[in-house]
């Protein structure tokens, strides 16, 4: 198994966290993982993204030029990555915000109105990222729920224990829709 993923969005949408959580869970599952953020001046008030690779084999190149899975949380990110997704790859789209479309029919587009779901269920759009991640896990079977929950325990539990439960519920919500 090897998935090369990109998570992209607007500054405050928590895309770096999504990727980190997934990478962390991959590590707990004994896989090889890498996580790379975009860095540099374009971050100033712009978009943010990170690349995550999860693989059963040693990871050579850690950069992701043609993602097998891309998650785009806003319009600019959709534009940036829609053409890069590998044929037969998956493009997860936060349809609460993104209303773009594409001509490509060699990729799977999976829409999820994450902001709405987040707002409806948790009265904040902040958890949209985690909901999308749950959805991705359900669709792609990269890692199981338990390992993600363990990653949440470790990553969120350390700094903000009060947020552990709600994050898990957001994962479950994403998985269920």
């Amino acid at each position: 198994m090897e998935e090369k993923m990109v998570f992209a969005g607007f500054g405050g949408q928590g895309v770096l966290f999504m990727g980190k959580l997934l990478a962390h869970a991959g590590m707990l599952a004994g896989k090889n993982v890498t996580w790379i953020p975009s860095y540099g001046p374009e971050m100033r008030g712009g978009t943010a993204n990170c690349s995550v690779i999860i693989s059963d084999n040693r990871i050579g190149s850690p950069t992701v030029d043609e993602p097998t899975i891309a998650v785009v949380m806003n319009g600019a990110s959709f534009d940036k990555f829609v053409d890069k997704v590998k044929p037969d790859g998956d493009l997860f789209v936060n349809s609460s915000i993104v209303d773009r479309t594409t001509d490509r029919n060699d990729i799977n587009i999976i829409k999820i109105n994450a902001n709405d779901l987040a707002y409806d269920n948790f009265q904040t759009s902040k958890l949209a990222n985690v909901i999308v991640l749950g959805h991705l896990l359900a669709k792609k079977n990269i890692l199981n729920k338990e390992i993600i929950f363990k990653a949440i325990d470790e990553m969120v539990g350390e700094k903000r224990p009060e947020m552990v439960e709600i994050n898990k519920r957001a994962i479950e919500l994403g998985m269920s829709v």
Partner: protein
């Protein structure tokens, strides 16, 4: 040992602390800034001191002062900041002071950009400062190697009384990978009887290299040269990948080395017997990796994030026996493994 998911920069910082590094002097610069940031949080816990210097010039000279008193010390920067340290690096080498200096390279020349590059190879390995000197240069390709090589760097620095440079790039510095921290080494290292610690109960020491006559200057230079010759065969490190039966070999370090590993796998799938030598010491350049292999291969290709700098060292080892080709990316770009294979095939007429 449990694994942790850590950024390369943070891994270097943590490894330094576990190696007994007690002092860090630095100046922020992307993409190396997580190193000082981590140090500012954690060094205190082990009774160490973090100090943000007013500049890279000041930082390297603070490193010089701290090292002169015999304490383990580190600094970190990125390319333009590393350039500013050249005079200080030359002084560290001349006075034979152990210190660990990290260069998380970013795209130059000039202000340039922040993307990954290996275009500081010349200035790092051949002495970007004045005079004949070479720091030991270590080039990790994974976050785990950033840990391991940082720990080794402190030992090498003390063992050979020399600055040691860790050369990486923004991808490695910013990337997270799982890492384990081995127990710090318990190598038997020479006592630092040359250090300035206060002259209590012994002769005073001078930690310096002021040469009032050319004769003294010559003596000092010959001493340094001898040390270099002594180090050369002893600390060469590299990783060979599928070289046993290789007909062609890529030479690449750090990020491009990692990407080239994938390229080797791709080429092998096409039936091409390609291998990889990944230098881990950039100085001394791992000439030993080429021993025995030179008769077996038909050609080399140096893959670098530059216009071609390490290729000179490859060519000096190969010495005209077989062709040495080049493939590079510049200005912050990285090649896809496929591009490397394509270029390789084209240059060696294997289409």
């Amino acid at each position: 040992m449990t694994k942790m998911l850590m950024k390369g920069n943070e891994a270097i910082a943590e490894a330094a602390i576990r190696s007994g590094c007690k002092l860090f002097f630095g100046y922020p610069i992307t993409p190396s800034t997580e190193i000082p940031e981590y140090m500012s949080k954690k060094l205190k816990e082990v009774g160490g001191t973090f100090l943000q210097a007013e500049s890279e010039v000041a930082a390297i000279n603070m490193v010089y002062g701290a090292s002169a008193t015999g304490v383990r010390v580190m600094t970190a920067s990125s390319s333009p900041g590393y350039s500013l340290k050249q005079e200080g690096l030359s002084y560290l080498a001349a006075v034979e002071l152990p210190a660990v200096i990290v260069d998380i390279m970013r795209a130059g020349p000039g202000l340039g950009g922040l993307g990954p590059t290996q275009a500081d190879y010349f200035q790092i390995t051949k002495g970007g400062g004045h005079g004949d000197y070479h720091p030991i240069v270590l080039a990790p390709a994974t976050v785990q190697e950033m840990v391991d090589l940082t720990m080794e760097a402190f030992d090498l620095a003390d063992e050979y009384r020399t600055p040691v440079v860790i050369a990486a790039d923004g991808i490695l510095g910013q990337m997270m990978e799982p890492v384990e921290f081995p127990k710090g080494s318990s190598k038997d290292l020479p006592h630092k009887d040359w250090a300035a610690t206060g002259a209590k109960g012994r002769e005073k020491v001078n930690v310096s290299n002021y040469c009032l006559t050319n004769e003294i200057g010559e003596r000092n230079c010959l001493h340094l040269q001898k040390k270099h010759e002594y180090i050369k065969p002893r600390v060469q490190r590299w990783k060979s990948y599928k070289t046993e039966d290789a007909e062609f070999i890529i030479v690449a370090f750090g990020t491009s080395g990692r990407i080239s590993e994938t390229a080797v796998d791709l080429a092998r799938k096409e039936g091409i017997k390609l291998g990889l030598i990944r230098p881990i010491t950039l100085w001394p350049f791992p000439e030993k990796a080429f021993e025995g292999i030179l008769d077996q291969v038909k050609g080399f290709m140096s893959v670098e994030l530059s216009t071609g700098q390490m290729i000179e060292d490859v060519r000096l080892v190969v010495n005209g026996k077989v062709p040495v080709k080049f493939f590079g990316k510049q200005g912050g770009m990285t090649p896809a493994p496929e591009e490397i294979v394509t270029s390789f095939k084209a240059q060696f007429g294997l289409e």
